[in-house]
């Protein structure tokens, strides 16, 4: 029954473009981009590691995708896989070093990595177009927004599926144990470094793929806006508001904050970020486990 409902929701999501207008489709595409980022950030957080590097891997993927299409004549659709692979490779090499750090040291280092990526993008002018950025010559699906919506939806559903696999397999036991107590975890046979590296590479690949989707949608990359802190701060806020350490939490957060920010933009074009910030502050103060986490705790307490 539960799976039947989920299947129906998925089918409805795919059929949506036939019922609603282009504006809503555009909004939903953007929400699903951020939803995937929020989930990937949360998956890393489940290991206890707070990563500030997601905007960096997002930007890497965006650049990799456009360069793959422009300079190597790769099909735009395939360029998304190229971007994911490129982000994964970089994450593998860097993760080998930074995953020896913990807590605030890991967080700060991943934040620094984002800046380093941006400096590379700005200075490798021959490849990246320098600070002027680079335009995509052959846009995916020739810019058909409905097909892009379907593509983004497929990626978002894949990310949701991966997140659920994390929650239902031995991976959950490994990464929760690492988050709770590394010494107890390793004395119980958990290979901590292997799991951290695996999750870091996988989530970076997701961020790279999502960056590629974004770049394909807007057909343009530029250092400042592609590596913008928004691609870190918005997904983090969504996961925190929705509820961390779960699949449903970041999804709820992305939909609620995504729709809220669109609506607020319409009614107050200049002040909407203040309200957005206010929502975030209030949630953290009064619902520290997020919307979903609070609901789950209430139900658990009643039992």
């Amino acid at each position: 029954m539960k799976y039947f409902m989920i299947a129906i929701v998925c089918v409805l999501c795919f059929l949506l473009p036939f019922f609603v207008g282009a504006y809503l489709i555009h909004v939903l595409t953007s929400i699903m981009i951020f939803l995937s980022l929020a989930l990937s950030w949360d998956m890393m957080l489940r290991t206890g590691q707070l990563s500030f590097g997601i905007a960096g891997f997002f930007g890497l993927g965006a650049y990799a995708s456009i360069i793959a299409v422009d300079d190597f004549s790769i099909d735009p659709l395939w360029s998304i896989l190229v971007a994911a692979g490129f982000a994964a490779l970089i994450a593998l090499a860097l993760g080998w070093i930074v995953l020896r750090l913990r807590e605030i040291y890991f967080a700060i280092t991943t934040l620094a990595l984002s800046s380093v990526f941006m400096i590379f993008a700005r200075n490798l002018s021959d490849l990246t177009g320098g600070s002027a950025g680079e335009v995509l010559y052959e846009s995916i699906f020739k810019g058909d927004s409905i097909k892009i919506y379907w593509l983004v939806l497929s990626v978002a559903l894949t990310v949701i599926l991966v997140s659920e696999l994390f929650q239902r397999t031995r991976i959950r036991f490994a990464i929760n144990a690492i988050r709770d107590d590394e010494i107890a975890a390793k004395c119980s046979g958990v290979n901590i470094f292997k799991y951290l590296l695996f999750v870091f590479v996988l989530t970076s690949a997701i961020q790279g793929a999502v960056g590629a989707l974004y770049a394909q949608q807007y057909a343009f990359v530029e250092p400042e806006s592609t590596f913008s802190a928004n691609f870190l701060l918005l997904p983090m806020s969504m996961a925190l508001v929705g509820g961390i350490y779960s699949t449903l939490g970041p999804i709820i957060g992305a939909v609620v904050l995504g729709l809220a920010s669109e609506y607020l933009k319409l009614i107050m074009p200049y002040g909407h970020l203040i309200i957005y910030g206010l929502i975030l502050v209030l949630t953290i103060m009064f619902l520290p486990r997020g919307i979903y986490g609070t609901v789950v705790n209430r139900i658990a307490a009643k039992r």
Partner: protein, 237 residues
Amino acid sequence: MLLRTEKLTKSFGGLIAVKSVDLKVNQGEILGIIGPNGAGKTTLTNLISGVFYPTEGRIHFEDKDITFVPAHLRARMGIARTFQLVRPLRDFTAFENVVVSCLFARGESLREARKSARKICELVELDQPERRLDRLTVFELKKLEVARALGCQPKLLILDEVMAGLNFEEMQRMIQLVKSLREKQITICVIEHVMSVISQLTDRVVVLDRGEIIAEGPYERVAHDPKVITAYLGEEA
């Protein structure tokens, strides 16, 4: 011989916590490790389980040199330990804590691990293992430590003060549990302050003081060793 350490030394900066210790653990025995506070008992446990590596010396387990083998591989080889200050995994239920070691130390599938964990919970008499950890008593948390260690399918089990904080009746039940584990061919090291437990359980005792072994032998003999009495009570004025 199951485990042998050779001139094992660990220093933290200027402090030498374990000093040139030659420890031998025979197959199938229950060995008591005693000594006053700060003697280096827990540091020795940490060295054997691989929580950190020694400054000097070697560790051999089943004739393999494991001095620099990482902790998770030692757990898979069959070296399991409990923690003096219990370290349960707080986001899991008691049962799931045991599943973790069955999964990763034994390398079982999720289904097998659930089955093994259920058996272990029955063995240590952990009632209602699906409870959240904040509802567990001290005795149950100590039993959970033992249960999670048993999930590693240990050949060598190091019990670091599992009796601390238990009342008399709970202690008797824990002693029965440890005895039943020996019948399962598990070699056991008991680190303990409660001497009545040591005298009831152990075949042999090693006494540590300031990081060094100062005496070893059967409990009756060691307990009357003047060096041991001095270590615990200090020199006569």
